[in-house]
């Protein structure tokens, strides 16, 4: 059951990622990327990483994709094929991506990754066990990231302001 779900999510995620690249209208790109994000959230659930799954859905599918949608809407970008690269460049880009994929898959398929644990048995993805690590060993980076957020917010407001 889990294996079938894994392959279903894989195929759906790859399809929507491919459509992100293929589709011409920016709004379709955003919607397909949202679908891909939900598929990746399902992958986190399959990995028994529940905290990450919830955070991923909230942050990516919830916040970031809404930001993208608002940008497409506010800038009125939704014109089909407004600017496209020439066909030769597109074919070359596809070939470059395909060659990269073949190389990486070919290399990684030969590696024998030895895994110590059965993933279905692990409990590390649960909120309680992850919080212990986050608030003990990584407390300082956690606090520093809040400062990063504050500076990002100030920067975004400053950039967005009309001067």
């Amino acid at each position: 059951m889990k294996v079938y779900l894994f392959y279903f999510l894989c195929i759906l995620a790859l399809y929507s990622a491919f459509m992100v690249v293929i589709s011409k209208k920016p709004i379709h790109t955003v919607l397909y990327l949202t679908l891909a994000m939900f598929c990746l959230g399902g992958h986190y659930v399959l990995l028994n990483a529940q905290f990450l799954a919830v955070v991923h859905i909230i942050v990516y599918a919830g916040a970031i994709m809404v930001l993208f949608l608002f940008t497409v809407m506010l800038l009125n970008l939704n014109k089909e094929g407004e600017f496209q690269k020439p066909a030769l460049v597109q074919v070359a880009a596809m070939a470059a991506g395909g060659i990269l994929m073949i190389t990486l898959v070919g290399v990684l398929k030969q590696t024998d990754v030895v895994m110590a644990k059965d993933p279905t048995m692990t409990q590390i993805g649960l909120v309680s066990s992850l919080a212990k690590v986050l608030y003990h060993e990584y407390l300082l980076p956690f606090e520093v990231s809040s400062v990063l957020f504050l500076s990002a917010m100030v920067g975004a407001v400053l950039l967005g302001k009309k001067d």
Partner: protein, 102 residues
């Protein structure tokens, strides 16, 4: 029934990453390029989480959390820059920005 192996995650994330690379190379719309970069970031995130689970080390998942934090900040700043570029050039075509090369 055989379980999902680490190699499945490796291949899946690699293919997703390559699709993101192809998207960055193909698109001329700055917004679409930004979205392809998000796709690449997410494939690496999933791979990190998968390694963390298979190695039984919670530090990997904490790092995925931090990457998500940084990505959220990056998207906010990036879209603000994009809006600013649009306000100045009335387009998000990256070919209008080729002066940045020099």
């Amino acid at each position: 029934m055989n379980a999902i192996s680490m190699n499945d995650y490796l291949v899946f994330c690699t293919v997703l990453f390559s699709i993101g690379v192809a998207g960055v190379l193909i698109k001329r719309n700055a917004l679409s390029i930004f979205m392809s970069i998000e796709l690449m970031l997410n494939s690496i995130n999933l791979l990190l989480a998968a390694f963390s689970v298979y190695m039984n080390d919670p530090a990997g998942q904490v790092f995925v959390f931090f990457i998500m934090v940084v990505a959220a900040a990056e998207v906010a700043i990036g879209l603000a820059i994009l809006v600013m570029v649009y306000r100045h050039t009335h387009s998000v075509d990256i070919h209008l920005l080729n002066r940045l090369k020099w």
